[in-house]
Amino acid sequence: MKARFRPGDSVTVRSAYSLGHVRTPHYIKGKRGIIERVCGEFANPEELAYGRRGLPKRPLYRVRFEQEQVWPDYIGPPSDTVDIELYEHWLEPDTKKD
């Protein structure tokens, strides 16, 4: 699968709360971040968790989020970040333009 996003792209994490083995932490759902790097392609852990093959491999990204945007009560400077690896199917292009 060709990577849809590139470093520097602004993305939003989908808000969905399914059952199953999901590696997108709840605290980041609905948040906006920037693609920090393309990590490569990997089999989908949501499928591997049930003994299936998780193919085709799909792109994984490291996404950087400003802590102030993630937590309403964050203590620290605006430059602080949380970096999380997220699969492409959890990311939407951020259509809000500043």
């Binding site: 590696r23 997108t24 932490p25 605290y27 990590c39 990997f42 852990p45 994984l60 490291r62 802590q67 937590w71 964050y74 203590i75 620290g76 400077p77 430059s79 602080d80 970040t81 949380v82 970096d83 999380i84 690896e85 997220l86 699969y87």
Partner: protein, 203 residues
Amino acid sequence: MGTPHDHTPPADSDAPLTYHQTMEIAVRELLIEKKIIDAATLHHQVEKMDARSPAMGAKVVARAWVDPEYKQRLLTDSPAACKELGIELDGTLLVTVENTDDVHNAIVCTLCSCYPRNLLGLPPDWYKSHAYRKRVVREPRTVLAEFGLELPDHVTVRVHDSTADMRYLVLPARPSGTARFDQEALAKLVSRDCMIGVAVPHA
């Protein structure tokens, strides 16, 4: 070795077995009898893991401190750089993140306990604790202060939540006052906690 009821005497054999300890013995014996695993390979894996420790990570850090080109190779391809030093990571996708004057990195796995085990050995209990997993993403500076590390606001704190296959090694900044130290002496300054990002090394 090899009889169905062979079991290595546990180090904890004075206490009665817990339910889960009983389960472990039973499952292991059944799998060995069914020839799904063998006792020698299992024992070898235990020894392999035992041989891993933060000293291995410290060796990598010390080399990066004295050799800027090695450091670049480490930042670009950590498993290959570890292999140069004879450290085999068995497929771990290690990523090194560098502390600088402006950035401090800290690692967590909020969803479970992912940790660069094949470099540093088994993680400390606190890393796997619910309190650490809950708090360090949300209030890293407070948690780091509890560990004795206070960082000024001009230093960006970057928390890495290990949600996928990458495992993180924090490359701490070389402390001042160490210009004359050789690699061995430098490695001694690098604790496990520095490589997780809850501490920094001091001369």
